[in-house]
């Protein structure tokens, strides 16, 4: 079952109507598909193409540009260790070596039990807290090898499942625009006049 579920289809349709052009919803929808199965399947891309009115090839073209999208199953926890300059200066390489030994896989690999995928990542915007890593895009800062060992044990024991959902689930809270508050997206060619508040007067 790789097409969107009924429940996700409702969410997808809510997202699509927020944009003046449907294709704009593609990246949020790809995240939704990845949330459903942990990766993006061919069937999901066909379905998304139908939803926003483009070919599945166009969906594939967009999806493959972005690093966060995966096209085959990976570990439940994606451990991204930053290796860009600030982290490199503060010992990111040693941390990566330690992680490789601890998990028994090289960067890019997935453990046999399907729990962890280890990856080298680029700057994660936590440069003052180097070296840093993300587990399914949740931060761990100033990470020592001992911290990493503890993190892996906690993840294996399921102690962090409240904070860190399985790979694919990004934000746990979505934007919801109430129908009675929404202005609504309008195709640009249907807008010909200036916004009503640009009338030289105060709006309040």
């Amino acid at each position: 079952m790789s097409r969107l579920t009924e429940k996700n289809l409702v969410i997808a349709k809510e997202i699509i109507v927020r944009y003046p052009r449907q294709k704009s919803a593609l990246i949020p929808l790809l995240h939704l598909a990845q949330e459903q199965t942990g990766y993006i399947s061919r069937e999901a891309m066909v379905h998304l193409g139908e939803l926003v009115g483009v070919t599945s090839a166009e969906v594939y073209g967009t999806a493959t540009f972005y690093e966060m999208f995966r096209f085959e199953p990976i570990g439940k926890y994606l451990v991204n260790i930053c290796g860009t300059m600030s982290c490199a200066l503060m010992g990111a390489e040693e941390l990566m070596h330690h992680a490789e030994k601890r998990l028994g896989v090289k960067a890019g690999g997935t453990t046999q039990d399907g729990m962890f995928t280890l990856a080298h990542a680029e700057c994660q915007a936590a440069c003052t807290e180097a070296p840093c890593l993300q587990v399914n895009y949740r931060y761990r800062l100033r990470v020592t090898p001992a911290d990493l060992d503890n993190l892996i044990e906690d993840l294996q024991a399921g102690k962090l499942s409240d904070e860190i959902p399985a790979h694919g689930v990004l934000a746990k809270v979505r934007q919801v625009i109430p129908a009675d508050r929404a202005v609504g997206a309008v195709a640009p060619e249907l807008v010909t006049e200036s916004p009503v508040w640009l009338n030289g007067k105060a709006a309040l």
Binding site: I27, Y66, A125, C127, T128, V173, K201
Partner: protein, 478 residues
């Protein structure tokens, strides 16, 4: 549990004027309750109580500089849209990913309502009918905090139809990226927002203010830039320009990372705070780790040419940092002490830009990876002295002429050298060369000691002048 903390994680407070980080001391700074209790949405109310064009004039006269990298005044940018072309859009650039930069994420995680209020003020002032808030994909917490804040703001009547009961109506749509550094470039951001591969567009004709999202006039502003607006509207232009200097008013957020005693994110006074204050000041980083000596520092994010101790007394003022041969960029200082392996440090940055090249322009796609390969073999001890020249030659194909260049040749280097002279559409290409060029210019001996000399052996059996060299031709192996 205490309701305040001395320092929010990553952020270092201090006895300085605060424009965008005033709520960071509260543990619940991201909630609408805290926001409303601390002047929240008062700037919006102040803005809506006056005609839109007056608000635009305020932003212009306050010279709110763009905080994303180029430092272009926001009010001027808003004024570049063509007359009577509708609709116009606001796209918020929350795709913070420049190496060393860490500020927009804090602003989104710790004070999302301030950003939302800033977006509303911008939409009102510049007549923008829809706002798209593009947040970097890897920032799950920021996405959650902004989503919750938007849901609260919609419910409370601050966003959506008839804001505060007025005729002003605008939707703010939260949009997540999916991991691509180049999408921080404004035209690539727009491509990505249209559901495409995030490749930059050629300027001209695709200047976003004229021809942006869906071909319509589009304002692309950085998160920190917009976060300044609520305070500006609450306190007025005079209060804003009283902080900082005439050409760089207000404050700005700067992240100082690397080999310092207390790395952190600071809100500093624009224009007057110097790099020495930041790196050595007791209110800031308190000096170099282990009391080592400073070797070099990156003054404005991974794309910026490096400085050494000679430039420590320069202030955060574009008109002084520009002529000195670098840029303030996105407010990111990375400090290297005397123990730093310079070629290896440069390699981490060049690898970053080579990896993040979108592949659209050949000089960046091929040149960036070529620079990385050469640098890697030097770091691994397999380089030759000819590689050093080769690095410069490849760099000259990405950004020809002397490096860095003046943005405006008539003005010389008194203008900020941004964007660089380049054979690529965007600055990712030159950015791959900036660390190489800086490292090689400032610390050539460290490269020379790592490479083997090409030994020239006379070949006597043919003619008296013919020679061969022993090393493999450069660029062939990798």
């Amino acid at each position: 549990m205490s309701t305040t903390f001395k320092h929010a994680p990553g952020f270092v407070s201090g006895d300085r004027p605060k424009i965008v980080t005033s709520r960071f001391e509260f543990v619940d700074s991201f909630t609408i309750e805290r926001y409303l209790a601390t002047d929240g949405y008062k700037g919006l109310r102040a803005a809506l109580s006056r005609p839109a064009n007056e608000i635009h004039d305020d932003v212009k006269s306050a010279t709110v500089l763009g905080r994303g990298g180029a430092g272009f005044p926001a009010g001027t940018k808003w004024g570049l849209t063509p007359q009577q072309v509708w609709p116009r859009y606001l796209v918020v650039n929350g795709d913070e990913s420049e190496p060393g930069t860490y500020k927009d994420r804090l602003l989104m995680e710790r004070d999302p309502h301030q950003l939302i209020e800033g977006c509303l003020i911008a939409c009102y002032a510049a007549g923008l009918s829809q706002c798209f808030l593009y947040i970097r994909g890897e920032m799950a917490l920021a996405q959650e905090r902004v989503a919750i804040a938007l849901n609260e703001a919609y419910a409370a009547g601050y966003v959506g139809k008839n804001i505060l009961g007025s005729k002003f109506s605008v939707d703010i749509v939260l949009h997540w990226g999916a991991g691509a550094y180049v999408v921080g470039e404004e035209t690539a951001l727009i491509e990505s927002l249209e559901g495409n591969r995030g490749m930059p567009r050629l300027k001209p004709p695709f200047f976003p203010a004229v021809n942006g999202l869906y071909g319509q006039p589009t304002i692309v502003n950085n998160v920190e830039t917009l976060a300044n607006l609520p305070w500006l509207l609450c306190n007025g232009v005079a209060a804003y320009t009283a902080i900082g200097t005439k050409t760089s008013p207000g404050t700005r957020m700067v992240a100082v990372s690397g080999h310092v005693k207390r790395p952190g994110v600071f809100e500093i006074i624009n224009g007057t705070t110097t790099f020495r204050d930041l790196i050595f000041g007791e209110d800031f980083c308190g000096g170099i780790k282990n009391d080592n000596k400073l070797k070099a520092f990156v003054p404005g994010g991974g794309s910026a040419p490096w400085f050494t101790a000679d430039q420590l007394d320069l202030p955060f003022e574009a008109s002084q940092v520009g002529p000195a041969g670098s840029m303030l960029g996105s407010g990111a200082v990375i400090v290297m002490d005397e123990t730093t392996d310079i070629p290896a440090a440069a390699l981490t940055l060049t690898h970053f830009y080579a990896h993040e090249s979108c592949g659209k322009c050949t000089p960046c796609r091929e040149g960036g990876t070529w620079l990385e390969r050469i640098l890697r073999r030097i770091v691994d001890g397999d380089g030759t002295d000819a590689d050093l020249q080769q690095l410069l030659e490849v760099g000259a194909m990405i950004c020809p002429g002397d490096f860095p260049h003046a943005a405006n040749e008539k003005l010389g280097l008194t203008a900020v050298p941004f964007p660089y002279k380049m054979t690529t559409i965007c600055f990712v290409g030159p950015s791959a060369f900036a660390p190489v060029h800086s490292a090689l210019t400032l610390f050539r001996s460290e490269f020379e000691s790592r490479v083997t000399k090409r030994v020239t052996i006379p070949v006597t059996s043919v003619s008296s002048v013919k020679t061969v060299t022993t090393a493999t031709p450069v660029g062939v192996h990798s």
